[in-house]
């Protein structure tokens, strides 16, 4: 019997599991995909919002500034890529300036630090590649970027280091309310737990439904993002936001943690909960809009594109809290800024669990720290030499576009990568302009050896995502 079963290994589930692993509790995370973070978590913009966007009377508005602040500590502990590069909300006409002022006031009321309105000249000096038709901007220095999949991986790995069980390829199919506990029936086994935390992203209403709850619904809203060639690195230094629209913060220019520029997302309601497709309309919308703000961005520089689903609830806010079923707790409707809020949500859920009667007793041997993955390409000569002396495989290049070495691939496998995407998200191999053309066979060789699986059984991301078949005569 577990104390807590977390359903869903996205960033929210992982953050909660990791937070709760500080206490003497039996915890399990149940994830239906091959690896954690393969849901919405790997397909978002990676922005740690400053917090001025969301209204203060919503739960997301309340958690966002706290979440943002918690990132410094979290990053120190877990060594994922995080950088506070700051954000600019840009105004294209005089009529938009009052909106900048409104956002500034809203932010200040919530405690967002350092908000400032910049005039045209200051904006041009700071971001010379933006269109010269922009007339002012709101600067929020505390906004930052992370690699979201790195965060999910680090959280789950640290949770596992601290005793949490992680079950992947394990989909929840039924939940039975028993006396004093809940029985979670999955595709592989039945798990008993006193508390179940529903962090199933776009499927959270389905999971709640399994427990007999029907008080909310989730409506997926798709966002398409377009990653641009590294030729454009450095084009903008900060996150660039337009004046927000009704449903979204609009289409953004995002210098990702690695410096590559990404543009998006769109906001399109859909009924298909697995719809990760990109569309002509989406790209037209993104590039049509972005080129007005930054004229040197064109569709031709796209190296890859993807889409993610925001789990928008019928209240348009987070739904976090206990339910009429004792022990069943929702962490649902976690749309943007869910990533930013993740560490704050974890604390919020901890307090809920406490008030629901869970006894929290701190572990003495909790290990908060996780060394980050080795990043050969970002080291100086001396550091590189030292690594190579320790391990010759640091001198064997596997991914040429991002300069990833074989030792880093092994490290990714050591840290849980089981698929090509798993390797990509941990080591960057396959993320560059050739999109795996060079490194995929090498990574497959390594996975095949390390996992002791035949070459043809290596997948892109688990399930039926096979890469090759055997030849007739072999």
């Amino acid at each position: 019997m577990y104390d807590i079963a977390v359903i869903g290994g996205g960033v929210i589930g992982c953050a909660i599991a990791r937070e709760m692993s500080r206490y003497r509790l039996g915890i399990v995370v149940v994830e239906k995909y091959e690896e954690v973070g393969f849901g919405t978590t790997k397909t978002n913009s990676g922005i740690i919002h400053a917090g001025h966007h969301s209204p203060p009377d919503t739960l997301k508005g309340k958690l966002v500034v706290r979440g943002n602040k918690l990132y410094d500590r979290l990053c120190k502990d877990l060594n994922f890529g995080f950088s506070r590069i700051g954000e600019l909300v840009v105004a294209r006409s005089e009529s938009e300036i009052p909106e900048l002022e409104r956002l500034k006031k809203q932010g200040e009321a919530k405690g967002v630090p350092g908000l400032e309105i910049w005039d045209r000249e200051r904006l041009r000096n700071a971001e010379p590649n933006l269109s010269n038709t922009l007339i002012a901007a709101l600067h929020a220095p505390s906004a930052g970027v992370i690699n979201p999949y790195e965060l999910a991986n680090a959280l789950s790995e640290n949770a596992v280091d601290n005793g949490v069980d992680l079950k992947v390829n394990c989909a929840v199919e039924k939940i039975v309310v028993e006396k004093g506990f809940l029985a979670v029936h999955t595709s592989t086994e039945t798990i008993k737990a006193r508390f179940v935390i529903n962090c199933a992203g776009v499927y959270a209403d389905k999971i709640a439904g399994m427990a007999g709850l029907s008080d909310f619904t989730i409506h997926p809203r798709k966002g398409e993002e377009y990653m641009l060639d590294k030729r454009l690195k450095g084009l903008v230094q900060r996150l660039i936001f337009p004046i927000p629209e009704k449903n979204t913060k609009g289409i953004l220019i995002i210098p990702t943690f690695d410096g590559t520029i990404m543009v998006g997302p769109t906001a399109q309601d859909t009924t298909d909960r697995d719809d990760a497709s990109t569309t002509y309309e989406g790209s037209e919308q993104v590039f049509g809009f972005v080129s007005k703000i930054c004229p040197s961005i064109t569709e031709r520089d796209t190296i890859t594109e993807f889409a993610g689903l925001r789990a928008v609830s019928n209240t348009n806010d987070f739904i976090i809290g206990p339910t009429r079923i004792k022990g069943f707790i929702n962490a649902a409707g976690i749309q943007s800024p869910g990533l930013t809020c993740a560490p704050a949500i974890a604390l919020y859920v901890r307090d809920i669990l406490k008030s629901e009667g869970l006894v929290l007793e701190k572990k003495k041997n909790f290990k908060p720290h996780l060394p980050g993955p080795p990043r050969f390409a970002s080291l100086n000569d001396e550091q590189q030499r030292r690594l190579v002396e320790k391990d010759r495989l640091f001198a064997k290049v596997v991914c040429r576009c991002e300069l990833v070495t074989e030792a880093e691939i092994h490290s990714a496998v050591d840290h849980g990568a089981r698929t090509l995407d798993g390797i990509k998200f941990r080591s960057r191999a396959g993320m560059g302009r050739c999109q795996g053309g060079f490194c995929a066979p090498r990574c497959m060789d390594i996975l095949s050896k390390r996992l002791d699986k035949p070459f043809q059984e290596i997948t892109k991301r688990g399930g039926d995502s096979w890469v090759v078949k055997k030849m007739m005569d072999s």
Binding site: H410, V413, D414, G416, R418, I446, K449, R450, L451, D452, M472, D473, S474
Partner: protein, 144 residues
């Protein structure tokens, strides 16, 4: 009865659309060609279309698992698929030298052999073993 067969000339990038007029097996005329090569090509295609073929076969004891091979002379077009299937029955052991004949008088035609397109050295078993042993590391070892 006069019939027409159509070809595209592969002699050069112009790719002339060729028309070959024939009565049964007798060629009457080739038209559409901008130069002589086109006419020659159409006649050859009509009377005895031939193709060269190359593929790979399994090899053991070498750095790679496949050895590229070719058929030393052009074979009749209709025999391509059959030839490919037949070549696949070959299994080769390293070492192999470039040009080495792996299958003599293939398809029963004299002088048309299956030959190796490259040399492959033998990699000692021991070396292959030590290569895999390097992999490695205690922590993940063999993940579940």
């Amino acid at each position: 009865m006069i019939e027409i067969k159509k070809y595209i000339c592969i002699g050069c990038p112009v790719g002339c659309p060729l028309q070959l007029e024939h009565e049964k097996d007798r060629i009457r005329e080739v038209t559409g060609n901008e130069c002589n090569r086109g006419a020659k090509y159409a006649r050859q295609e009509f009377t005895d279309p031939r193709r060269s073929i190359s593929t790979t076969v399994q090899i053991s004891g070498a750095l790679r698992q496949r050895l590229p091979v070719k058929v030393s002379g052009a074979i009749h077009k209709d025999q391509i698929l059959e030839a490919a299937r037949k070549i696949h029955e070959l299994k080769v052991m390293a070492p192999v030298e470039i040009g080495q004949v792996l299958f003599k008088d293939f398809l029963g035609e004299k002088g048309i052999d299956v030959v190796a397109c490259r040399s492959m050295k033998r990699i000692a078993e021991a070396m292959t073993a030590c290569r895999t042993k390097k992999h490695r590391r205690s922590k993940a070892g063999k993940p579940e």
